[in-house]
Structures are given as C-alpha cells and as structure tokens.
Amino acid sequence: MNRPFKFSLLIPVLLASATNAHAARIGELTDSSIVEQALRFFTFQDPTVRFALAGTILLGITCGLLGSFIVVRKMALVGDALSHAVLPGVAFGFLWNMSKDPVAIFIGATVAGLLGAAAVHLIRHTTRLKEDTALGLVLATFFAVGVCMLTMIQRLPTGNKSGIDKFLFGQAAAIGAGDLKLMAVITVLAILAVMLFYKEFLVTSFDSDFARSCGFATHVIHYGLMLLVAFAVVIALQAVGVVLVSSMLITPAAAAYLLTDRMHWMLFLSAIFGMLAGAFGAFFSFLGPGLPTGPFIVLGATTVFSIAFFLGPKHGVITRWFKQRSRSNRIQRENTLKSIYHVLENRSFVGESVSLRELAERRRETLEDARIQSKALARHGLATLHEDGNQIFLTPGGWQLACSIVRNHRLWELYLTNAADFAADHVHDDAEKIEHVLGDEVVRAIERRLKYANRDPHGKPIPSLEDVQRGAAPRARREDSVGYGSSI
C-alpha cells in the first residue's frame, strides 16, 4: 500500500513549487475565441491557468483521498451537509477584515463546518429525529444563515466587488497564491494523515465495534476524519463552490469503489480521478467567460463515474452484459460442435465433413440458423467451410473442443447414474447444462472415480483425454473396435 501513497505525496509538493509564480487575475481574456483559450490553457504560460490547474488538482487529490473513507463509511450525505454548513463561516471569515483572506476564511469555514457536525450529532442524540432529517435540517439552516450574511455583505460598499459570491459555484480562476499555498498545506496534511493513520482509519471504517474492542478511540478517529473533511471542503470552496463540493467527496471515490477491491487502491484511484475531474473543470470553465468551475468539475467526476459504472472490468453494467452475451454465444458454439460430432459419430466417423443440411436436421433448426452457427464456428477458427459454406470441416481446435464437450457430457451422465443413482434417462438434461462449465481437473477426478469407464449409460463411447488432445476424430478403442472405423 505504500507505493501509491508515496507517489501521490510528491504531486502537491511539485505543483506548489512549480506555480510559485506571480499571481495575475483573469478578466482581460474575455474576448478570445474558444480555440485560442484552449491553446492558452495548454501552453500553461498564463499564470492564471497554472494557478487554477494546480489548485483544482490539489483539491481533487485531497477530496478524493478523504472521500474514499466517506464513501466506505456510508457518510456521503454527512459530507454534503458539512459542505453547505461552511457558508456562514466563509461569511464570518470575510467579515474579519473585509477581504478574501484565505486564512481567515479557512478558519471561519472550518469552525462552521464542525459546528454543523456537532449540531447533527446533538439533534440525533437528544431527539427522536433520524439522521437524514438532522442532516437536512443543519444543511439548510446553516446555508440560510450564510445566505443572509452574504446578502448583507453584498449590500456593503466593499462587499459588492469582493467576489465572495464566487464561493457559491466556484471560480478556479480566482485562486490566488495564498489560496494555493493553503491548498498545498492541506493536501500534504491529508496525505500524511491517511498514510500515518491508515490502519486506524481502515479498522474503524470496516468494523468500529471491533476497533473499540482493540482499544482504538473510534470517536477521536471519527472526528479527526471529520476535521480533515472540513479542511478539504474549505479548500475546495473557491474552485467548486459550496453547493457542489460534496460531489468531489463522493463521486471520484464511488467510481474508484466500482473498480477495485482494495482500500489502498481505492484511495489511489480516487485521488487520481479527483485530479482528472479538477483539471477537466479548470479547462472547460476557462473556455468561456463567466463559466463557473464547480459544475464542470462535477461533470468531469460524473463522467469518470459513468465510465466506471458502464465499463468497469468487474462491476460495469455493459461489461457484465457483454460477459453474459459472450458466455451464451460460447455455449451456443459448443452445442453446434457437439451436434456435428453426433452427426459424424452416427456415420462412424466416415468422411470428415458435415453438410449444412445434416447439421440443421440434427439441431432441428432452419438452414439459415445452421449457416449462422457454422459461420460463427469458422470465425472462431473451430471449423472451415467449403462448397459455398455448405460443407463444414472441423479444425483440430474444433475437434478438441467437440471431443471435450462430448466427453464432459457423457462422463457426467455416467457419474450421475453410477455414483448418484440417477436413472439413465434422467441425466441428459443436467449434463446438457454442466458440460459447458466442468473444469479439466473435475473431469479427470470424475474419470478416476469411474475407473476410466469408456461407455456412457446409453452405451455410447466416451472420448478419452487422448482423443481430446489429438484434435481429430476419436480413434476406436481397442477393446471395442467393432463398428468404429478410424477416420485417419
């Protein structure tokens, strides 16, 4: 688990040092076209761009890391409440010396966030109201207080131009050098905390009762995490805005949750996704005048989540659908091979090809269906088609698969009749299903149990392992050579 963390610790340090240039505010770039703006963005010459990008990336890392714990602790909506609750703190911080002093706003917002968390805790423990109600209540009330204060500030002569309203939806271009330094400090703090207290966070998140029985102070760890989350929310305010910060905590982490089964990889992926979303938002809000950054960051995060949701290798919806489809296609192919084998077997393996008509009759389907199936076999290199696709020859690979399927089927039938005392006419349907999923080892074990018997309950020969490996029509057995001419 160490590698991803060490690696990620480097990023904020690099960013913070690289962008230690002079600050310049955006504003004079409003007339340039989208393409020009995009070019400007990617040359990184504009300090505003560098500041915005560095800031959004830093907050992406912090929110991603802490958000992972938020998601696995099922506290997603606590993050939401906390992020709305900081608004009055932002206003207080601003009132402290009537300017957007990052430190004052940071302190004010953190205090407000923690007050909000405490209020939720109090309401839950002293009333019958449930957690969701308490969260919604605190969220909206604190937000309303914040809105009251903001409208009062904007009425003031100095307040009007302060840009404090940018805290609602975020404007990455407004990130200054002071903000950036604060962000770097918090990011390093978050990464260090997660690295140093990884096992404490892990065990309390997974099983808090057990953690307490080991002597961990779960409340301290919980509130420590809440404090870090409050920090993360506050540094994200400037770029993402109060309303949408919770998305940065939840969405990248949820996307990572879909992609991995290990906490440390989830933390790493989530931080990466947060960075990507941050950069995405910084870029798009840079393209046009007056575009807020927050919603674009959220869209970036949602895009990542959607990709994980649809295409994730394990849990992706489309991936699972494809897997299911390819499985049913495989079963379909194997059944066709088996039918070809049966046709040839009925002819005592005289001749090497099967006509489409024979196949269709055997499978009781139309010629057209048989043609589609034979083409599928050809596509997978299991058969070759001749005479305009009317004659099907099995390739060595096709023979191998056909023999092993028939072998699985007949061994299973024999096993059920011999070992499990099923009647011989009751075993076919079950064998139809299991023949596609039996593994090599199981088949060999069954064969051993059955003492290498070579006839199924219906008296048909069971292809041997040699037959399967040879990749051709099975040879007649020595002891029952009657009626089975070799085709080779």
């Binding site: 998601v71 309401i123 009333t127 209540l137 009251c148 807020p292 959220v298």
Partner: protein, 328 residues
C-alpha cells in the same frame, strides 16, 4: 459592524411593513406561508419515510428540468416548468435507484452522485444560455421572493395577487387535498410497507406519486426560495412538529403553524437586517425549531435534563426471579 447590522428600530422593523407597505408585505408573507405549508405537509411524510435527503436531491435536480423547459419553449410558462421539473424529479429517483441497485454503491452515495450531477448540468445550462434563460445563479440558490408580488394579477382589497401567488396557493390546496384523500395509503405505506402490500396498497406507486408531488411543490417554490432553501422548507416544519407531538395529524397542523410563524418573523428579520427574505424566513424557522427542541414538554432538552437519571435503585418489575446465591 454597524454598517453590517443596522440598529433595531422597532417602528421601522415591526410596524412599518404592515402600516405603510401592506400591499408589498402581504403577498410576500402569504407566499412564504404557502411555500412553507405545502413543503411542510409533503416534508412531514419525507421525514416519516426517512427520505429527507431524497427531498434534498430532488430540490437540487429540478434545476436542469426547469432550464431545459426554458430552452425548449423559450417561455416561463407554468406547464413546461412543471413538466420539466416532474421529469427531472423522476429521472433523479430512477438514477438513484439504478446506481444503488446495479452496483454496490450504497444509497447515500448514489443520492450524492445523482443530484450533484444534475444540478451541475442545470448550472452549466444557465450560465451558457444566460441570455435566453431568465434565471441567474443566485436566484437559483435563494430565490426572489421579494419580486413575487410585482406581476399584475387579480387585485382584491387593494392587494395584488400575482399569478405566481395564485399558482402557489392552488398547489398548496391540491397538496392538502391529496394528503387528505390518500392519508390512509400514505400512512400505512410509510409505517409498514409489508402491511401496505398485504392490504393491496402498491408501495412503489405511492412512492413515485409522492416524488411527483414533491417535484411539483419544489418547482412551484423554486422561484421564491431557490433550490437549497427549499430543503429547509421541507424539513423544518415537520421536524419541529414532530418534536412537539407524536400524532401525525397534529404534527401536520404544527407544521402549517410553523410555516406561518416563520414567514411573518422572517419578513421582519429581513426588514431589520436588509438581507435575503427567503433565507431570513428559514433562519426564523430554524429558530422556532431550536425553541421547540429546548422547551418541548415531551422531549425537550430541559425536560430531558430534569428526568435525566433513571431511578435504578429498585429492580425493574419484569426482572426474572433468580437466586442471587446461584450466581458464580
């Protein structure tokens, strides 16, 4: 600081709004009351069903519905707005369901993902088509209840009832009527879905109907209080009511009372501090909640404090008999 908080002038703050500017004040207070009452009635059921945060989600995600309705019809008509909001509300509910069902992401995270994404789409649409959509970002957040009464409508007794006001009044009445008619279904399916199923109430129909009503209420409240303060309007009245009573009809009555009181008090607070009226109403609503929280005769903090220590000198009556000496 004196610039920020004006001196409290009793006449200016308490009397003047009603004596000098009644025609301006009354529609605002009435609107605040109607929004609070409609939201409070629906919100009581949300609280009961532990869906307060689904309310939060829907109140955010009606925004893209409204924005798209604006863009498509180029008007601020009532019908397109309602349809847009309903669609957005249902999309949100479905999205939450799908994310929660199809993956191992838990419901809380699913709610968070769904509403932030939709809200972001809404904000982007508004800022991209700022010239076409008659909404600004701040209005989205805390509404413009002060301008509600300005449009010409029906004048009664010297007071102008603007179309918005009339619309909100009809929504409130419809909500109250629906709750009255379907009270039994709502109650049963909220308390015990299994029982509801056994007496033939389709819980998911009730669920989605409630979501539709919620979307309708949220969208009609949207103009006056914005997307986020709506949450307060949804939760505060019901929460305050349930602190004071345990019986549902009484809780709903208290919720309506709460809406009226916070509306009036909020107006005066906003007059005094000269800040957002809708936010002030919420702040006063929260004040009322805190008041109930502290002084409630049945579950208030003070009451709790008085009865804090249980009497544990005597064993409880239903304790099984046992020979103490048998204890090892």
């Amino acid at each position: 600081m004196t610039q920020l908080i004006p001196a409290f002038d009793f006449h200016q703050v308490i009397v003047a709004p009603w004596s000098q500017d009644a025609a301006g004040t009354f529609p605002i207070v009435l609107m605040g009351f109607l929004v609070g009452a409609a939201c409070g009635l629906v919100g009581t059921f949300l609280i009961l069903r532990r869906m307060a945060l689904v309310g939060d989600a829907i109140s955010h995600s009606v925004l893209p519905g409204i924005a798209i309705a604006f863009l498509l019809t180029n008007s601020r008509g009532t019908l397109p707005m309602f349809i847009g909001a309903l669609a957005a509300g249902i999309v949100t509910t479905l999205l939450i369901e799908i994310i929660h069902r199809k993956t191992r992401v838990k419901q809380d995270a699913a709610i968070g993902i769904a509403f932030t994404s939709l809200f972001a789409v809404g904000v982007i649409l508004i800022s991209l088509y700022a010239s076409k959509i008659d909404l600004d970002q701040e209005c989205v957040l805390y509404g413009e209840i002060g301008f509600i009464g300005l449009e010409e409508g029906i004048t009664l007794g010297g007071i102008n009832f603007s179309p918005q006001l009339i619309r909100m009044a009809s929504v409130t009445l419809v909500v109250a009527a629906l709750i009255l008619i379907f009270y039994k279904e709502l109650l049963v399916s909220s308390f015990d879905p299994a029982l509801a199923f056994s007496v033939g109430i389709n819980a998911s129909v009730v669920h989605y109907s409630l979501m539709c009503v919620l979307s309708a209420v949220v969208v009609s409240a949207f103009e006056s209080v914005g997307a986020i303060l709506v949450i307060a309007m949804l939760i505060l009245p019901g929460a305050t009511g349930s602190l004071l009573s345990q019986r549902l009809p009484r809780v709903m009555g208290l919720a309506v009372l709460h809406a009226a009181m916070s509306s009036v008090m909020g107006l005066h607070l906003a007059t005094w501090l000269d800040c957002s009226i809708a936010a002030s109403m919420v702040v006063m609503g929260a004040f009322l909640f805190a008041f109930a929280w502290i002084f409630s005769p049945s579950q208030g903090i003070i009451q709790r404090f008085i009865r804090s220590k249980p009497k544990l000198d005597e064993p409880p009556a239903d304790l099984p008999a046992a020979e103490k000496s048998a204890v090892g």
